[in-house]
């Protein structure tokens, strides 16, 4: 059983560009959450998707948007990239609120 997978592994973008990150949840999981983790910090909640709708959102600007597909996979889109968006982006899937399985993350570098 594959766990949570994310692509790409690494990404380098220029300020002002747009980026799309992808996540496939663990089999049987219907909820996907996205986090931003800066170096030396804990994961910061961006938003959560359930049944193809954004269920909850953290304190992130509208430049951060997402989508969940019928197969529960998800995308995170970030527009107008800033240097401060450089971070590890983690996707986590769950079947309930009791346990989240994290993917390996996408390391985004904005230059």
């Amino acid at each position: 059983d594959a766990g949570v997978t994310q692509s790409p592994t690494h990404l380098i973008k220029t300020r002002g560009q747009q980026v799309t990150l992808r996540c496939s949840p663990k089999s049987g999981h219907d909820t996907v959450s996205w986090y931003q983790q800066a170096l030396g910090q804990g994961p910061q909640f961006i938003f959560q998707y359930y049944e193809e709708e954004e269920r909850q959102r953290g304190n992130f600007p509208d430049r951060f948007s997402g989508h969940q597909f019928p197969n529960y996979s998800s995308e995170l889109n970030v527009n107008a990239l800033l240097l401060g968006d450089s971070a590890l982006y983690l996707c986590a899937s769950s079947q309930s609120r009791y346990e989240q399985y994290f993917g390996p993350g996408t390391r985004l570098t904005v230059t």
Binding site: V4, S33, G40, Q41, G42, P43, Q44, F45, Q48, Y50, R55, Q56, R57, G58, L90, R97, Y98, E99, Q100, Y101, F102, G103, P104, G105
Partner: protein, 113 residues
């Protein structure tokens, strides 16, 4: 709103014990604990629920004091594999009726042979 973890770092030898604390200024519905090794994804260890229910790891224990809004993670007879950064996560009820997780800054644990 971010939970506060202490200490920031712990260095110990194999077989020693460690305690990591997590406190919040807000009422807690639950506390989650994760361990993240360098370059890897966080791995779920345990969740403690309001009311005393606990789900998680066999070899690691934790406590949850709802009145004090605190939780502690107890690592006994530590092994080299325990090294990593430990995060506590708390939840607040969001406007959508589901829970929004918030993580602390982490506690770095290094176990030496």
């Amino acid at each position: 709103q971010q939970p506060v973890q202490s200490p920031q770092a712990v260095i110990l030898r194999e077989g020693e014990d460690a305690v990591i604390n997590c406190s919040s200024s807000k009422a807690l519905y639950s506390v989650h604990w994760y361990r993240q090794k360098h370059g890897e994804a966080p791995v779920f260890l345990m969740i403690l629920l309001k009311g005393g229910e606990q789900k998680g790891h066999d070899k690691i224990s934790a406590s949850f004091n709802e009145k004090k809004q605190q939780s502690s993670l107890y690592l006994t007879a530590s092994q080299l594999s325990y090294s990593g950064t430990y995060f506590c996560g708390t939840e607040r009820l969001g406007t959508g009726g589901s829970y929004i997780p918030t993580f602390g800054r982490g506690t770095s644990l290094i176990v030496h042979p």
